[in-house]
Subunit: 140 residues, 3 copies
Amino acid sequence: MKLYQAELRLPAFPRGFHLITPQVLRAMPELKELQKGMLQVFIQHTSASLTINENADPTVRVDFESHFSKMVPENQSYYRHTMEGPDDMPAHLKASLLGASVTIPVAHGNLLLGTWQGIYLCEHRNDGGRRNLVLTAWGL
Amino acid sequence: MKLYQAELRLPAFPRGFHLITPQVLRAMPELKELQKGMLQVFIQHTSASLTINENADPTVRVDFESHFSKMVPENQSYYRHTMEGPDDMPAHLKASLLGASVTIPVAHGNLLLGTWQGIYLCEHRNDGGRRNLVLTAWGL
Amino acid sequence: MKLYQAELRLPAFPRGFHLITPQVLRAMPELKELQKGMLQVFIQHTSASLTINENADPTVRVDFESHFSKMVPENQSYYRHTMEGPDDMPAHLKASLLGASVTIPVAHGNLLLGTWQGIYLCEHRNDGGRRNLVLTAWGL
């Protein structure tokens, strides 16, 4: 069995949801060596997250930002962790709701994503800066 | 190390939450070959999802549908992705809240689920049709 | 490729969010044998969950409890699964929102967590008792 690991340091993205499937594929060319296997993408941060969702109409990503910012609002009276700004505690909550990783099956050197699936970077801070990902692929 | 991969094309399920542990086990008989390992179940769609929850009382699954449809309502004024019907954008949001995959440890050829745990297909569309899953198992 | 599996039976924790990274590391000393790989932590319950979030300021974990208990309230009129107490159905819903497992890349015998990341046990019941985890590590 083979196992490959790589780091991917993304450029800074604005707050919102962003398709990063091409960047992930470029950072792990060894995926082509796997007949069958898995790829995990892991984000080393607690105020940004990863998810899989629709890769076509960009209004889906706009609606993600609207909905998550309504479901997890800023400036709630019960927040005690407020030192790092009003967008910080909601960012931590959104990060756990969406998750720190996505794991995708691989066959014949390609991700087995559905036709409409893409990998999103979910940037929950107003100025999150650059984010580090760890990619790990394993299989036969 | 061994690695097995299979596709599972589910029948169409109505909107709601449905136990599919038996279907998953039937689609991956090679699980019996693993003394220790992992099984991932991945859904190739962006308006349905997978989760693990209680496998006994069916009212839990009814309450999941009620709660998720209240927490992520239809027809919000801020939705811009509305072309595919009022159940579509909420379906995308619910899919990311719950996730596109579940990964479960395996020992002695069996899933190491707790007594009350089962795998749910979460069908978020009114007429989602058949859904494709990819199962990948690896281990010794 | 190597694969290790261990069980970790946690002590009972009060309702809320609790850092358990040290307990996880102690239960899987074989992590030191992996040059590159993965660790999955899986919880065998449906009313408690696991997530990754900030490991420093404890008010983050307090705000998690406040926010999740507001987002998934007790005693909703639409709950039908009420036999096991008012904290039970919200616990199931929170467990699926956060998830039953976390999977973390490993390099040089260490978890590749970001500086601020830790593993949380999310105890959603008032008296959840002891919780069982299954740890599985694989790699080269």
